[in-house]
C-alpha cells in the first residue's frame, strides 16, 4: 500500500507544477516574504511600498533559479513515471539541440590542441577547454538526471516485486508494464523533440498597433524568442522609433543571452511600416510588405484597438465612435481577411490571433459600451471564422491578455479603479511573456490563449490583500518602473534558461496525456498488487 499513497499523492504535486508553471506566478512566494515582514510596522505607507517595489524585480532571479532546480533535480519527491517522461524528453531535447555544438567544439578543441604545439595559443585552448568543460558538465548533469529517474523507476519495480510476493506471473506483468511505460515515455519525449525540432526556427510575425502597450511588449518578446517581427502602427514616426528601440533591445538581449538563445536571436529582426488598420489599402500594403520582407507570415496578431476613455455613450462624439468601431471591428475584419489571403497562398498556412477585451464574454460594459460591444462582436466573428476556415490551412485563434497596465486601460481611470487594478492587472511584459510562447507553438484552429486563467484569478483573489499597493499607491500614483527600467530587469531575467520556460513550451494536452499515462500505470500496478493480497 505504500505505492498507493505515493502514487495518489504525486499527481497532485505534478498538477501543482503544471498549473503554477508560469513565471509571473513564481514571483509571489518571494514577494510574500518581504511584505509579511513589513506588514506589522506598516505605518510608513508609500515609502515602504516603493521600497518593496524596487526589491520586487531583483527577487525574480533567485526565484526562477529555485524553481528550475525544483523542476529538475528534486525528482525523488515526485512521481517517477511522470517525471521520467519529462526528464527523458528534456534530455533528448537538450542533446539534440546541443549535439551539433558539442561535436563542433570538441573538434575545434582537438584542432586547437593539435595546433597549439606548433603555435603557442594557450589562451584560446583554455577558453575552448572551459567551453568543453561546460558542455561536459551539462551532459553529465543530464545523464545524472536520467540515472536518477531510472533508479527511481527501479524503486517502483522493487516495490511492485515486493507486493507481488514472488508470484512469477505478477512479476512478468510488472516487468511488462515497466517496459511499456519506459517505451511510451520515450516515444512521447521523442515526439515532442521531433516536433519541436521540425517547428523550430524563427516565426514571421505581424503585429498591428504595436508601437505601445501590449503590442510593443509582444513584439519585443517575439523578437527575443528569435522571431522576425513586423511592427505596424498609424504614425510613421512612432513606427520608426519603436523599430529603433526594439533593435536596441535585441542587441542588449544578444549581449546578455546564453549561447543557445544567442544563436536564435541572430536570426531575429524587426521591421516596421505605417498602417492604419481601418484603411484596406494600408492593410494590403502591410501584408505585401511583410510577405516581401520576411518571405511568409506565420503569425498575424490583430492587436490594434482603441477605447477613447471611460464615459457614458452620450459623451462620445461621432468621431470617437467611428474610430473605435472602425479600429476594433472593421480593422480586425480587414486584417483577418488580408492575413487569410496571404496565409492561404502559403504552403504551411498560418495563424491569426484576435485580441479579446472587456465585453468579449458577453457581460455588459457600462462606460465603455462602444468598445465592449465591438469586442463582443469579435468573439462572434471568431466563432464564424472557425467554421469558415475549417478545411483551410489558416488557424484563427483568440488571445486574451486579461487586464494590462496600458494607456487603453489607464485613460480616465479613477482612484478606485486603480486600486482594483492592483489586484488583477499585470505589466504588459509579464503578459507578453506568457502569451508569446503559447502563440509560437499554437496548432490547429480556434484555440484561446488566455493570460487570466482560473488559477491565476484565484491566486489574485486570495492574495488580494498582498497586492494592494502593487502598481498604485493610495493616491493613485504609479509605483511601477518606467518602461526602460522594466526592460533592463527583464533582459537580465531572460538571460538564463529555466526549466519553467521549457515546460511552458508544451501545450497542456501533452501534460494531460503524460499525467493520464501515469495514472494508467499506477492502476496496473495497483490492481496487480491488490490481487496478490486479497486480505488488504
Amino acid at each position: 500500500m505504500a505505492a498507493v499513497s505515493k502514487l495518489h499523492l504525486s499527481p497532485q504535486t505534478f498538477l501543482h507544477h503544471l498549473t503554477f508553471k508560469d513565471p509571473s506566478l513564481s514571483d509571489h512566494p518571494p514577494k510574500l516574504r518581504p511584505l509579511l515582514r513589513r506588514n506589522p510596522g506598516k505605518t510608513d505607507g508609500i515609502l515602504s511600498f516603493r521600497q518593496r517595489n524596487g526589491r520586487f524585480r531583483p527577487l525574480r532571479h533567485p526565484c526562477r533559479a529555485f524553481r528550475s532546480e525544483n523542476g529538475g533535480e528534486s525528482t525523488e519527491k515526485r512521481v517517477e513515471l511522470v517525471e521520467r517522461d519529462g526528464i527523458v524528453e528534456e534530455k533528448n531535447r537538450s542533446l539534440s539541440k546541443k549535439g551539433k555544438g558539442i561535436l563542433y567544439s570538441l573538434k575545434s578543441l582537438l584542432l586547437r590542441a593539435s595546433g597549439s604545439e606548433k603555435s603557442v595559443s594557450g589562451e584560446k585552448c583554455q577558453s575552448a577547454m572551459a567551453k568543453l568543460e561546460e558542455i561536459f558538465f551539462s551532459v553529465v548533469t543530464q545523464f545524472g538526471r536520467y540515472l536518477l529517474t531510472m533508479t527511481s523507476t527501479g524503486v517502483i519495480l522493487a516495490v511492485g516485486f515486493q507486493l507481488s510476493g514472488g508470484d512469477s506471473q505478477m512479476n512478468t506483468l510488472i516487468w511488462y508494464s515497466w517496459v511499456g511505460g519506459i517505451i511510451i515515455g520515450t516515444m512521447i519525449g521523442a515526439n515532442m523533440v521531433l516536433e519541436e525540432h521540425s517547428r523550430a526556427g524563427p516565426r514571421n510575425v505581424v503585429i498591428t498597433g504595436s508601437t505601445r502597450g501590449l503590442g510593443k511588449a509582444l513584439a519585443r518578446e517575439f523578437l527575443l524568442s528569435g522571431d522576425r517581427v513586423v511592427v505596424a502602427s498609424r504614425s510613421p514616426e512612432s513606427v520608426h522609433t519603436t523599430v529603433g528601440e526594439l533593435e536596441e533591445d535585441l542587441k542588449k538581449g544578444i549581449l546578455t543571452a546564453g549561447s543557445m538563445s544567442k544563436l536564435h536571436m541572430a536570426r531575429a529582426k524587426v521591421v516596421g511600416i505605417a498602417c492604419d488598420v481601418c484603411e484596406p489599402e494600408d492593410v494590403r500594403k502591410l501584408a505585401n510588405f511583410a510577405a516581401s520582407e520576411l518571405g511568409s507570415i506565420d503569425i498575424w496578431i490583430n492587436n490594434a484597438g482603441t477605447n477613447k476613455g471611460f464615459r457614458p455613450l452620450l459623451q462620445f462624439t461621432d468621431e470617437d465612435i467611428d474610430q473605435i468601431v472602425s479600429t476594433n471591428l472593421v480593422g480586425s475584419l480587414i486584417c483577418t481577411r488580408e492575413a487569410m489571403h496571404v496565409m492561404n497562398s502559403q504552403e504551411k498556412g498560418g495563424h491569426i490571433f484576435n485580441m479579446d477585451g472587456a465585453g468579449s464574454g458577453g457581460s455588459s460594459t457600462p462606460l465603455t459600451a462602444v468598445y465592449g460591444s465591438t469586442k463582443c462582436g469579435l468573439r462572434q466573428l471568431q466563432a464564424s471564422l472557425l467554421k469558415e476556415c475549417k478545411r483551410s490551412k489558416v488557424g484563427v485563434h483568440t488571445a486574451s491578455p486579461g487586464m494590462v497596465l496600458t494607456d487603453l486601460l489607464l485613460s480616465g481611470s479613477t482612484l478606485k479603479n486603480k486600486q482594483m487594478f492592483n489586484i488583477i492587472c499585470e505589466l504588459p511584459e509579464t503578459v507578453a511573456r506568457t502569451l508569446v510562447p503559447r502563440m509560437r507553438v499554437v496548432k490547429g484552429s480556434g484555440k484561446a490563449i488566455n493570460y487570466l486563467t482560473p488559477p491565476r484569478i484565484l491566486l489574485a483573489l486570495v492574495t488580494a490583500w498582498l497586492r494592494r499597493g502593487r502598481w498604485f499607491d493610495d493616491q493613485g500614483r504609479a509605483l511601477y518602473a518606467a518602461e526602460a527600467d522594466r526592460i533592463r530587469n527583464w533582459a537580465e531575467s531572460r538571460a538564463r534558461f529555466s526549466f519553467t520556460d521549457a515546460m511552458e513550451m508544451y501545450t497542456e494536452n501533452t501534460w494531460v496525456s503524460v499525467f493520464s499515462l501515469s495514472v494508467v500505470c499506477a492502476f496496473i500496478i495497483l490492481s496487480s498488487s491488490s490481487s496478490s493480497f486479497p486480505g488488504t
Binding site: L329, M340, G372
Partner: protein
C-alpha cells in the same frame, strides 16, 4: 467558470473574457475589506441595480452635461398614453416597413426614414393613401452619419414634438453571403458602419432626445443572426455586428441605471427570420433553404406579432429591460420537429431539392 462583472466601479475589462458562461459569482467584498463593501457589488451578468447607493464613487450626475436625470427629477413624468409617436430607421422596405404599417394600423404616428429619397417618398405616399394624411412622414437619413441622425431628430421634433418609441431597424449585410476571405472592402465597411456605428449614433441621439422629453421613451434595437453568439459562417461580419448590438443594449441598460436615467430604456427586439431581401439573398445552399422554409415568416406576420408587444411596454409604464422575441427557441424546435416528422412547410418559400 465565472464571469466577474463589475457593473459600476470597474467597468474596464469587466468580463474576464475567457469565462463566458456564467455559473458562479464572486463576492469580492469579503476579500477587499479595506474598501467600502457596498461598492464592490460583484454580480453575475451585468445589469444588477446598484444605483440605490448615494455614496458611489463613480456617480455621474456631475459629469453629465445634458443633465437628463436632474430634469427628469424636477419635472414630473407624464404617463405614456396612446397614440404613440414611433420612429423607425431603415423603414422603407422589409421588416421596418411592415412595422411602420402595423403601428399605423394601431393608430400611432410614424416617422420613416431611409438612405434613398425616392424610396422614402414612395413609401410615405403608399402609407398615406392607406392610412390618411398627417399620420406618417418621412425623411432621408443615413444612420452612419452623425449629422444626418441629428437632422432626423430635429425633423421628428418638428413633426411630432416627441418620440415614444424609437426602433433601430436599419441594418445591412450588403446582400452578400460569402466567406470573409472573399468579402470586399466596401461590403465589410458598409456592414459594420451601418449595423454598429449607425446603431450607436442612433442610440446616443435617441437617449439624448428622450431623456429631455417629459414622457421619456423606449428604444428598441433589432438583433439578427449571430446575436446569441452562435457562429454565422458566410456572413461573419454581419453576425459580429449583430452580436455587438445585443451587447451594446446590455451596456446601455447598465449605463442608464448608473446615471439614474429613469425615463429612457433600451430594449432588444428579435424578429427571428423574416423573408426579406436581406435573408433571401443568402438562400443558396441546401441547408439555408431548409431553414428558411422551416423558420422564416413574412415580415407582416412578424410585425403583427411584435407591434402589440412593443406597444404594451409604454402602456404598462414599466421601465424594465425586455427582449421581445418572435422566434423563440420552443417555436423554432417545434417547427423543425413538425418539418422532420410530417414534412410541414416543405418548399414553402423556396424549392428545395
Amino acid at each position: 467558470m465565472l464571469v466577474l462583472s463589475f457593473p459600476l466601479q470597474y467597468p474596464h475589462h469587466s468580463s474576464l473574457s475567457p469565462f463566458s458562461s456564467s455559473s458562479s459569482a464572486f463576492n469580492f467584498s469579503s476579500v477587499l475589506t479595506s474598501q467600502k463593501p457596498q461598492i464592490l457589488g460583484f454580480c453575475t451578468r451585468g445589469i444588477r441595480r446598484v444605483s440605490g447607493n448615494p455614496n458611489l464613487p463613480l456617480r455621474l450626475q456631475s459629469t453629465i452635461t445634458t443633465g437628463p436625470e436632474s430634469q427628469s427629477q424636477v419635472k414630473k413624468r407624464e404617463p405614456m398614453i396612446p397614440p404613440y409617436n414611433v420612429l423607425i430607421t431603415g423603414s422603407t422596405k422589409g421588416i421596418g416597413y411592415a412595422l411602420a404599417k402595423e403601428f399605423l394600423k394601431s393608430g400611432d404616428n410614424v416617422i420613416i426614414c431611409s438612405r434613398s429619397a425616392e424610396r422614402v417618398e414612395s413609401a410615405v405616399q403608399t402609407l398615406n393613401e392607406e392610412f390618411g394624411e398627417r399620420r406618417v412622414s418621412g425623411t432621408v437619413c443615413d444612420v452612419k452619419k452623425g449629422d444626418e441622425v441629428k437632422k432626423l431628430v430635429t425633423f421628428a421634433c418638428d413633426k411630432l414634438k416627441y418620440i415614444d418609441i424609437w426602433i433601430n431597424n436599419a441594418g445591412s449585410n450588403a446582400y452578400s453571403y460569402k466567406p470573409l476571405s472573399e468579402a470586399s472592402d466596401e461590403d465589410l465597411i458598409e456592414v459594420v458602419t451601418t449595423n454598429t456605428l449607425g446603431l450607436m449614433i442612433c442610440c446616443r441621439e435617441a437617449i439624448m432626445m428622450m431623456s429631455n422629453q417629459p414622457r421619456g421613451g423606449h428604444i428598441f434595437n433589432i438583433d439578427g443572426a449571430g446575436s446569441d453568439g452562435r457562429p454565422t459562417p458566410r456572413f461573419a461580419a454581419y453576425g459580429a455586428t449583430k452580436r455587438s448590438v445585443v451587447h451594446l443594449t446590455k451596456s446601455l441598460q447598465a449605463e442608464l441605471q448608473m446615471q439614474e436615467v429613469k425615463n429612457v430604456m433600451v430594449h432588444n427586439l428579435s424578429p427571428g427570420m423574416v423573408t426579406t431581401e436581406l435573408l433571401m439573398s443568402g438562400a443558396l445552399t441546401k441547408q439555408a433553404k431548409f431553414f428558411i422554409n422551416v423558420l422564416a415568416e413574412p415580415a407582416e406576420v412578424v410585425a403583427k406579432y411584435l407591434v402589440p408587444g412593443i406597444r404594451s411596454i409604454p402602456s404598462s409604464g414599466s421601465m424594465k429591460p425586455t427582449y421581445i422575441r418572435f422566434l423563440t427557441g420552443l417555436k423554432a424546435y417545434s417547427q423543425i420537429f413538425s418539418r422532420l416528422a410530417f414534412g410541414a412547410r416543405r418548399n414553402r418559400y423556396l424549392i428545395e431539392d
